[in-house]
């Protein structure tokens, strides 16, 4: 779940003008707040030890800093996840909706909180679980997250890379499984479609 939090927020454009080796992530993401709404495409590749071939999924993502996040998978199947402060909504390939209120699932609530905080560029929220380290220049930077003991049994390492905008991130799990998400075609000026606004409306 934390992976979601990371992925969705980091794709926001990072337009920091200054920077150098060993920069604090806060400095690199100081301009995250400038973009209240973002659309982008993604490709997620999951390489699991027990699978003989990786599973690749593609789709698009919408980050609305106030209302929440829409993660829309189009391949290999139609799937939509909507994460809001109220909880998580899952719309399956058959259009079946499965809602989980934040109240019933503390983990989900936690994720929502992290995501909202990150959407506002509050990196400090991640510091409860990771040690963060920024590197590079605003044009070619990398943030490395090493888990603190509390997260160590779930995540081995996270690496986030980007230039003017975020380009990819890579998550490794202790068992050797890994996930990579690559983002493309960021659209900053696109308003929410009617369908998207409906999904993000608090239920």
């Amino acid at each position: 779940m934390r992976r979601l939090a990371l992925s969705l927020v980091l794709i926001a454009p990072l337009s920091a003008q200054t920077g150098g080796p060993g920069l604090a992530p806060e400095a690199l993401t100081a301009h995250l707040r400038n973009a209240p709404l973002l659309h982008a495409d993604f490709t997620q590749t999951r390489t699991l030890k027990v699978l003989s071939r990786p599973l690749i999924s593609k789709g698009s993502v919408v980050v609305d800093r106030q209302r929440g996040i829409i993660w829309q998978v189009t391949k290999p199947l139609q799937l939509t996840y909507v994460v809001t402060p109220q909880g998580v909504l899952e719309v399956g390939p058959d259009g079946r909706r499965k809602a989980q209120a934040a109240k019933d699932a503390p983990m989900v609530a936690q994720m929502g909180r992290i995501m909202q905080a990150l959407a506002e560029g509050r990196w400090s929220v991640l510091e409860d679980y990771f040690t963060l380290q920024g590197q590079g220049t605003p044009n070619r930077w990398e943030i490395r997250l090493s888990p603190k003991p509390v997260a160590a049994s779930f995540i081995k390492s996270v690496v986030v890379k980007g230039g003017r905008v975020l380009e990819r991130f890579l998550i490794e799990e202790p068992g050797g499984d890994r996930s990579e998400v690559v983002f493309g075609a960021p659209r900053l000026d696109l308003p929410l479609s009617e369908a998207e606004a409906r999904l993000l409306k608090p239920q």
């Binding site: 003989s52 799937l79 509390v150």
Partner: protein, 809 residues
């Protein structure tokens, strides 16, 4: 001093023995019980329910809970670490849990892994490979594919993850940050810290250790982090609060009583001897009371000691009467006025033994012939009558079903008996000569007596009395009845505010109400729990409950586990095909199949062994007389009647609501006690009629009746609610009131000795019990208000005892 008689020596020996016994018991510790709950009687018909109440109180009672918070998260955390260090360093707590260094989040999934195929799935999936494949793909494509459970290889459909996410482990709002349990509040970040007590929350030693440690830690916090707030809750803080307050009140009340006793003796008798003798009789009363109570009871309740402090005021009543008699004789220089009064038509031949001719003549000789034993013999009858009627009053308390009230009754009865025996065995030996003559006091008292007599004889007195009774009765009807046990003890406002805040932040709820579930064996018990939980689910959806704590959240019933396992075995071929289609390696599928084949059903016992079950082990009651039992805690705002209604008709399920059971019982007993008060009035009247004749008997009982009416009217006017304790207070008013009237009537020939004795006694009782009216404990306050007004009314009306029939000679 005349020679101490044999019975005097015997009584002193007995007191020494009783005293050493009491001291030994007190020294051995644990002779004083500060747990107010322990004073309450068993209310549940089912002994397992009583047991559950105790167990639950222990589970939540033997720890202190702290929240440290402020607007700046880093400061909150630093402050919390400081608090944890301080508490650990204090040595008062065997375990302080604040940092979670050893916490391994992988522990819970590993525990459930061998049982995972028996855990119910949150949604049933069809057995077709196509839809299962779609589900698997969706899981991998979702942004939250990172697993908190066992991952795709061991938990392909995410059932275990779903089960784990629903566990009530992650107490609602709490998260872990920097190895600390934190909660995000509106006004900042709060860090949770709990400390296990080194013993019972009601052990004074534990309380003192806790108090000192917390005060010190609080001072450090205030210095280093002035802006950070410290919230606390836990039974121990309430117990400390109640104990320090009770002790403070006890010291104050007994202190003021003592000062009054001291001043009265010095002012009235002008002799240290009278004071010392008065104190001796109080001391003898207390020693006897404590020793005998400790024979019959394991521990003395704190409330007993508080009430015992006021028995001090009462124990001197008997010696007062005797001393007053002493003074009255001493003051006699044989003036004709006294002779005339002594021979007045008001003297009751059958009420007071006529002084023997020898004594009567001796009285004229400057009191030189004061013979202490003879003097005592003369007032013996009113003393014994008064003592017996008072005992009758306490006997009513003795019949109350509260162990605490019984103890108070026993303590008081034995204490009074001790004082009484001291009076009869020892006191006269120390009063050989006449007292300092106090002509002015005696003149005043005689004047009072004369006025009282004429008032008592007044033609209109009965009418005035009737009108007064009507007015007071009318006022009394406006009284408010309130039997709720929670209103009896009022903790400090600060503790309540802090507890409310902690409850808001953490979601920890009041555990006063719970379901007790019983079954013949574990399987039946868990089945019944599941039936209950499914009935409670709608209440969660409707917001009436926040959550439910139940064993079955952790250990599903064997039936449901079996069912889930069979469903998964049916589904296995389709799932294997879907996994193959997804690209899972054959050896991984083989491992999965093996795990499914060797899945073991989870038992409560296994769960109890797991470290993470510690905070929930109180849910399991274990074996009972007829099976096993467990608790289900409904956490939220739903109240007793609603919760009872929801569980209606479920076999083996009872709602236990201790507070409301106790309140219901208190109400029942209050009604019962009110009726027996009426009975006691008739009984005492009968006794008095037997001793003094029916008409005189009425005038002897009329003053306490006035006192009772005034007490009721007074409580109504002050807005103090009436409860069982008030009614029991009325019993005491009756007992003492009859004391006064019997003394007055019995001693009226003794030149105001009766009036003096009764006035002193009433004044002291008014002071010592009336002071309880200012207590911060509502139960004591109500008692004090009733007794204060009651004694005042009785005293003011007691002159009626002097009323004679118009048929006197």
């Amino acid at each position: 001093m005349t020679k101490l008689r044999l019975r005097g020596w015997l009584w002193i020996l007995a007191l020494a023995l009783l005293g050493s016994f009491a001291v030994l018991r007190m020294r051995s510790g644990h002779a004083i019980e500060t747990d107010l709950l322990a004073m309450l009687p068993a209310t549940e018909r089912n002994p397992v329910a009583e047991d559950a109440v105790q167990k639950l109180a222990q589970a939540s009672g033997n720890r202190a809970i702290f929240l440290v918070g402020g607007a700046e998260p880093a400061r909150s955390k630093a402050a919390a670490l400081g608090l944890i260090r301080d508490l650990e360093a204090s040595g008062a707590f065997p375990q302080v849990q604040g940092t979670l260094k050893d916490l391994d989040p992988g522990m819970v999934p590993r525990f459930y892994a061998p049982h995972r195929f028996g855990l119910p799935a949150s949604e049933a999936l069809p057995d077709q490979p196509e839809s299962l494949l779609q589900h698997l793909q969706a899981r991998l494509a979702s942004p939250q594919a990172a697993s908190f459970g066992l991952g795709l290889a061991q938990d392909p459909l995410g059932d275990l993850e779903g089960f784990l996410a629903k566990l009530p482990l992650n107490g609602g709002q709490m998260q872990i940050q920097d190895d600390l349990l934190v909660i995000q509040g509106r006004d900042g970040l709060y860090v949770l810290c709990t400390a296990a007590l080194s013993g019972s929350a009601f052990d004074p030693k534990v309380q003192e250790g806790t108090r000192l440690a917390v005060v010190k830690a609080e001072q450090h916090l205030a210095q280093a982090f002035p802006e950070v707030k410290l919230l606390r809750t836990g039974a121990v803080f309430y117990a400390i609060d109640a104990r320090t307050r009770a002790e403070r009140e006890m010291h104050l009340i007994s202190g003021i009583s003592m000062v009054c006793i001291f001043l009265l003796h010095l002012l009235v008798f002008r002799s240290l001897r009278h004071l010392l003798l008065g104190l001796a009789s109080i001391g003898a009363g207390l020693v006897t009371a404590a020793a005998v109570s400790l024979i019959f009871f394991d521990k003395l309740y704190l409330l007993t000691l508080v009430c015992g402090a006021s028995v001090l005021g009462d124990a001197v009543d008997y010696s007062f009467l005797y001393f007053a008699n002493h003074l009255a004789y001493a003051g006699e220089g044989g003036p004709p006025a006294r002779q005339a009064r002594s021979a007045s038509p008001l003297a009751l031949p059958h009420a007071v033994p006529e002084p023997s001719p020898g004594t009567a003549s001796a009285l004229t000789g400057e009191g030189s012939a004061w013979e202490p034993w003879e003097a005592l013999r003369r007032i013996r009858k009113p003393l014994i009558h008064g003592f017996l009627t008072t005992m009758l009053g306490y006997l009513a308390l003795m019949l109350a079903p509260f162990p605490g009230l019984r103890q108070i009754a026993l303590f008081s009865m034995v204490g009074l008996l001790g004082a009484f025996i001291t009076l009869f065995c020892i006191l006269p030996s120390f009063l050989p000569g006449p007292a300092h003559p106090r002509p002015r006091i005696l003149a005043g008292i005689r004047g009072l007596m004369a006025r009282a007599q004429s008032l008592a004889q007044g033609r209109r007195t009965p009418l005035t009395l009737a009108v007064l009774a009507l007015v007071l009765g009318g006022l009394a009807l406006r009284g408010r009845i309130h039997d709720d046990v929670q209103g009896f003890i009022r903790p400090s406002a600060r503790l309540l505010v802090e507890e409310t805040r902690i409850r808001e932040l953490t979601g920890f709820a009041n555990q006063g109400i719970f379901y007790l579930v019983e079954g013949a064996d574990e399987a039946e018990l868990l089945n019944r729990e599941e039936a209950l939980v499914s009935r409670l689910q709608p209440l969660i959806r409707q917001g009436e409950l926040d959550s439910i704590q139940a064993l079955t959240s952790f250990v599903p019933s064997p039936g449901r586990q079996q069912e889930a396992l069979q469903a998964r075995r049916r589904q296995a071929p389709a799932l294997e095909r879907a996994l193959r289609d997804l690209g899972m390696r054959p050896e991984a599928i083989e491992t999965l199949r093996h795990d499914l084949d060797t899945n073991r059903l989870l038992t409560v016992n296994e769960w109890l062994q797991a470290p993470f079950s510690t905070p929930f082990r109180h849910l399991w009651m274990g074996p009972t007389g007829h099976g096993v039992a467990s608790l289900v805690l409904p956490l939220g705002s739903a109240e007793g009647p609603r919760l009872r209604e929801v569980a209606q008709g479920l076999p083996g399920v009872v709602l236990v609501d201790k507070a409301s059971s106790v309140s219901t019982m208190l109400a029942k007993d209050r009604r019962m006690a009110s009726w027996s008060l009426g009975g006691a009035l008739l009984l005492v009247w009968g006794l008095l009629a037997l001793w003094y004749g029916p008409r005189a008997g009425f005038w002897l009982i009329a003053p306490p009746l006035v006192g009772i009416l005034l007490a009721l009217a007074g409580t109504a006017l002050l807005g103090v609610p009436l409860n069982l304790f008030s009614v029991l207070g009325l019993f005491l008013v009756l007992g003492w009131g009859v004391d006064y009237t019997v003394f007055l009537r019995g001693c009226q020939g003794k030149d105001g000795a009766g009036v003096l004795g009764v006035s002193l006694a009433a004044f002291l009782t008014l002071v010592s019990y009336g002071l309880l009216a200012f207590s911060h404990t509502p139960a004591l306050k109500g008692f004090g208000v009733v007794l204060g007004w009651g004694v005042l009314g009785t005293y003011l009306a007691s002159f009626l005892a002097l009323r004679q029939g118009r048929t006197g000679p």
